[in-house]
């Protein structure tokens, strides 16, 4: 191997308007080095200019050239370095994100060792300057001690931070109304009234120029594709899209196609993963197209089918929310028509995304409701049903806002509520309640992992009564809640210090008006959320302990803990007694009351943090991705009778298979925990296809009654009896069987076995 000499190595020149993904490895390395150089070139107080320059560098470079059959377009991957609110997949990070794995891949594709060495130097820089890393370094010691790791998928623990700026739903209504020229005009106006914010406004204008380049990039490619098209239809589609792209660079959108295209490219440039109240902001364009005869309804359906292909190209299965229906829309009548189109398109694409969310209320257009049930009866996990009649008043209380604002409360991701256009509420962390109880029962030792957990104040309590146990558990839990609230605040501060998030700041209310970036005082409501897991198991376990140990004195607490440590081996009888205790989800007051006690505690303790750490709100979300399964793996047997390592219950539902009193009993139970002080809970409901086919009216009545009794949300998976089992045996025969996991949907056959089992064991109604 020849000695590398950096001074003689030729660094390729990166050509603007070229996709990173079509470059040679050497050119890609040059691109990465240039990204690094730009970042270094600015001082820490030049955050606006720095982000603008980085965006200029990464746009349109991160995009892939369009595909020949595209009716709408826009695909990208993040390179080893990127500016983003949240990287793809499960990785954490935000703002300036360094991806070591992608660095490795790039380095191993290089022959020139000098380039490798330069990349390694760049890595040294990014190990310090990655914003996620800087956030970790900013924890005060007492927080760092409670949150030593963010590897929640690979280590046992009670609480873990999540580093990301997740959950943006941008104001695409404003984008549709103004287009790029209108945004420029608005920025121009405020520049004169807020001269102190000149760097921010200049940077915003630059970001819009980057967006224009992205549009031009796609336009140029589409123009070429029109020329090389294989068929007349393809040529027409490509020409139409070329025209639309050429128009939105300079005008506000005039047609549905232009609207969809502008929204989606903006959204990708922003790195935003959720798509807002789509039926409303695209409604005027759709209505105009239809009344002009410019397109047919079927063509509109087809545009959306193509849009969903693009959305599924992204690795965002936990996000991709599209909201339709509900109170507080600007164009309710037109929006209902478009919502029907969107429902049709989702039925056709039958894919994992978008996570179509239907907001229902007493005044819902009956056609929308009917179509929603048609989709569900067809085995589609969408739409998920949300009940405005409950959610609007609940949001008023939880977020402390007025009714009009609360009408814009919408879920993102796995089901966390934010206020559309007005608030941010990224989850600051995940917390495992069952682990907190487990550690409490072991005086601070974790029977599964090497670390001692909890706090001395709790772990030193001598537990002789149920009240002692409750006290120790709550002290432990509250310590982690507090740590994660502090971490949320730090995360926002770091985001604000790192960058103005220009694309966000242009489409969140008040930022431009105030001349302030989204995380630097611009946004109206800066909130946070905390994902809780194991709520049901904790409550069932506490009740079983109260009854068996303290009330009936069937065994001592030490004996119980020994049985748990041995995963009930040799303690089958005790396990049966524990299992026989009432369980949440059966409409039995004793069990449901305990759940409410656990729920109230964690929700109120979390809510109280907002003021302490300086956020506008800090709220529990009792949702679920696959964390119930992952946390379950690192949680020993629990006193509800659950075996070690198995899944925890999913969101606000009973532990799987524990609900045995029928659907009405289940629904009666799950409306008991209050919705007034959290930011979302998810309810999965597995229903047999036969039931929906044969007893459709009664099923709709069942769900309507649930909503009337205070049900906030329901996610229905309709499956055939036996389909899931058969799909486990013969996955090849069921490639398209979609199921609701928790906060996301997936192809059943692609899920891990444990998650498949968890779904299988849920009660089928």
């Amino acid at each position: 191997m020849s000695e590398a000499n950096p001074h003689t190595t030729k660094i390729p020149i990166f050509i603007p308007m070229q996709s990173y993904w079509t470059l040679t490895p050497d050119e890609q390395a040059a691109w990465v080095l240039e990204f690094t150089r730009i970042h270094m070139a600015f001082t820490p107080d030049e955050t606006e200019a720095r982000e603008a320059a980085i965006l200029d560098h990464q746009l349109p470079a991160i995009f892939l050239p369009p595909d020949p059959g595209d009716l709408v377009t826009g695909r990208f991957h993040y390179p080893p370095l990127a500016f983003t609110p949240q990287p793809a997949g499960d990785r954490g990070g935000f703002a300036y994100v360094y991806d070591p794995k992608k660095f490795e891949d790039l380095k191993s594709s290089l022959e020139d060792q000098a380039l490798v060495q330069r990349l390694e130097e760049a890595e040294m820089y990014w190990k310090q300057n990655d914003t996620g890393q800087q956030t970790r370094l900013a924890y005060p010691p007492e927080i760092a001690e409670l949150l030593p790791s963010d590897n929640w998928t690979g280590e046992p623990g009670i609480g873990f931070p999540l580093l990301r700026m997740s959950g943006s739903h941008l104001d695409y209504g404003k984008l549709m109304e103004k287009g790029i020229p209108g945004l420029r005009k608005e920025i121009g106006q405020y520049s004169t009234t807020h001269p102190g914010s000149a760097p921010l406004f200049r940077a915003m204008e630059s970001a819009l120029t980057s967006l224009e380049k992205v549009i031009t990039f796609h336009e140029q490619h589409m123009r070429k594709l029109a020329k090389t098209a294989q068929s007349k239809a393809q040529e027409q589609a490509a020409s139409k899209l070329t025209e639309a792209l050429s128009s939105i660079g300079t005008n506000r959108p005039q047609t549905l196609l232009e609207g969809i295209q502008l929204f989606y490219l903006y959204c990708l440039c922003a790195g935003s993963n959720n798509f807002g109240r789509m039926d409303d902001y695209l409604a005027p364009l759709y209505a105009r197209d239809i009344s002009n005869g410019a397109i047919t309804r079927d063509q509109a359906v087809n545009y959306f089918v193509h849009l969903w292909k693009l959305v599924n190209f992204r690795e965002i299965i936990y996000d991709g929310r599209v909201i339709v229906g509900g109170m507080g829309r600007h164009h309710p009548r037109e929006a209902d028509e478009l919502a029907l189109v969107i429902l049709d398109s989702v039925a056709i694409s039958a894919d994992v995304l978008p996570q179509l969310t239907l907001r229902m209320h007493n005044g819902i257009d009956p056609r929308l409701k009917k179509k929603a049930f048609d989709l569900i009866a067809g085995g589609n996990p969408y739409p998920m049903l949300y009940n405005d009649e409950v959610n609007v008043p609940s949001a008023m209380n939880a977020f402390k806002i007025d009714k009009e604002t609360a009408k814009d409360c919408i879920p993102f991701g796995c089901g966390e509520y934010v206020l559309y256009r007005k608030s941010f509420g990224t989850p600051s962390g995940v917390i495992n309640l069952t682990k907190a109880l487990e550690v409490t029962l072991h005086n601070g030792e974790d029977p599964v992992g090497p670390r001692s957990l909890g706090v001395p104040e709790a772990n030193s309590i001598d537990i002789n009564t149920f009240d002692d146990l409750w006290k120790a558990y709550t002290i432990n839990l509250e310590a982690y809640i507090h740590a994660l609230a502090v971490q949320e605040k730090i995360e926002y501060e770091q985001a604000g210090n790192a960058a103005p998030f220009l694309f966000f700041s242009m489409l969140f209310d008040s930022c431009i008006e105030r001349g302030k970036p989204v995380f630097g005082g611009g946004i109206d409501h800066l909130g946070g959320t905390l994902e809780t897991y194991g709520n049901t198991n904790t409550s069932d376990a506490l009740l079983a302990i109260r009854n068996i140990v303290f009330r009936d004195q069937e065994c001592t607490l030490d004996e119980l803990v020994r049985a748990l440590d041995n995963n009930f081996e040799g303690h089958a009888r005790l396990r049966k007694q524990l299992l026989d205790q009432p369980k949440y989800g059966n409409d039995i007051d004793e069990a449901d009351e305990m759940l409410v006690k656990v729920h109230d505690h964690v929700c109120l303790a979390t809510m109280a943090q907002a003021e302490k750490v300086g956020l506008d709100s800090y709220l529990v979300v009792n949702i679920n991705n696959s964390a119930n399964t992952i946390f379950g793996k690192y949680t020993a047997a629990s006193a509800d009778g659950r075996l070690a390592g198995t899944s925890l219950a999913n969101g606000n539902t009973p532990h799987m298979g524990m609900d045995q009193n029928g659907a009405t009993a289940l629904l009666n139970s799950i409306v008991k925990p209050s919705t007034r002080f959290h930011a979302g809970a998810s309810q999965n409901f597995k229903l047999s296809r036969e039931m929906l086919a044969k007893y459709r009216d009664q099923t709709v009545d069942l769900i309507d009654t649930y909503f009337a009794k205070g049900g906030a949300q329901l996610m229905i998976t309709a499956v055939n009896r036996g389909d899931l089992e058969k799909a486990m045996e013969h996955p090849e025969a069921y490639p398209n069987l979609l199921v609701r996991v928790g906060g996301f949907s997936a192809r059943f056959v692609e899920l891990d076995r444990e998650i498949q089992l968890e779904i299988l064991q849920r009660t089928l109604y």
Partner: protein
């Protein structure tokens, strides 16, 4: 007052209109060849054993003085005939493999469960259904329970074989909104063969109920090769036209769901299995019923 209940099903959708809670009472005077609730025939509670859940720990063998539990070289088995229903074994079984079918409940206890689903009843036009077994075996309990439902304004259905003294059935009219009346076979001799009793009383009671103005759903279990002939189906059609009280006719095709359940209660009995009718056979029934001008019928 207490009754012996062997199951309560909430969100029950096929025992009357809307969303219902169905209470299954123990005891029945008939013994249909195709019965799918055999454990309900005896009034007393029964031991139920789920072989799938059993871990062969033999705890039950140790506690059962009646020697109903057997240790067959490490494999546990139950001799149901010896069981004296003291439930000791259920207390010790760690796996939930042993349970008791049937428990005594007071009117208040049952009402409490009914009332929990009142909102579902009201929205869907549902209510409660008494089924069994034959609810008229626990006549006093059934009557008081339905009367209490009417006090609370809850819609009631009574699922009955009609094999009960007319005076009793008549007295149920005041508290029953809809009778789900079984009609199993037209030929009295065959009826006796299939169910253990002839159908004279059943047919008389049906006529009287109709004359007295009751609302009736005629529920007809149809078993291939047994009662799916033109004579019986034609008579069903005739009844549907003749009796104004019959609002609907429900044809209930034979199914085998009850067999495993019976075995878990140690009821091997002489139960015969029949073939499950496919769509073609059901279409044939439909043609017969239709050709006899049957009114308001549905095949499930």
């Amino acid at each position: 007052m207490e009754g012996t209940v062997f199951d309560i099903q909430r969100n029950s959708l096929n025992d009357g209109p809307g969303i219902r809670t169905t209470v299954f009472l123990k005891g029945c005077a008939l013994n249909c060849l195709w019965c799918h609730n055999r454990e309900s025939i005896a009034v007393k509670p029964l031991l139920r054993f789920y072989p799938d859940k059993c871990q062969n720990c033999m705890e039950c063998v140790t506690v059962c003085d009646a020697e109903a539990h057997l240790d067959l070289e490490g494999k546990h088995a139950v001799d149901f005939a010896r069981c004296v229903q003291n439930w000791d074994c259920i207390q010790v079984c760690p796996s939930g493999a042993l349970v008791k079918t049937g428990k005594n409940m007071s009117i208040e206890e049952v009402m409490q469960i009914f009332l929990k689903d009142r909102d579902y009843f009201d929205r869907s036009g549902g209510g409660i259904t008494l089924s069994g077994g034959e609810p008229m075996i626990q006549y006093e309990f059934s009557k008081s329970l339905l009367a209490e439902c009417h006090v609370q304004g809850i819609h009631t259905c009574l699922d009955t074989t009609g094999y009960t003294p007319w005076e009793r059935l008549k007295s149920m009219m005041a508290c029953t909104d809809l009778f789900l009346y079984d009609y199993k076979e037209t030929d009295p001799k065959k009826h006796k063969e299939f169910t253990g009793v002839d159908n004279i009383l059943i047919r008389e009671n049906l006529a009287r109920l109709n004359d007295a103005g009751a609302a009736i759903v005629l529920r007809c279990p149809v078993i291939p090769g047994m009662n799916d002939n033109e004579e019986h189906l034609g008579e069903i059609a005739r009844l549907s036209r003749m009796y104004e009280g019959i609002r609907e006719v429900h044809i209930l095709p034979y199914h085998t769901l009850g067999i495993g359940k019976a075995e878990q209660h140690g009821i091997k009995a002489e139960h015969v299995t029949f073939s499950i009718p496919d769509e073609k056979i059901k279409a044939h029934w439909w043609t017969i019923l239709n050709s006899h001008d049957a009114k308001n019928f549905r095949i499930f």
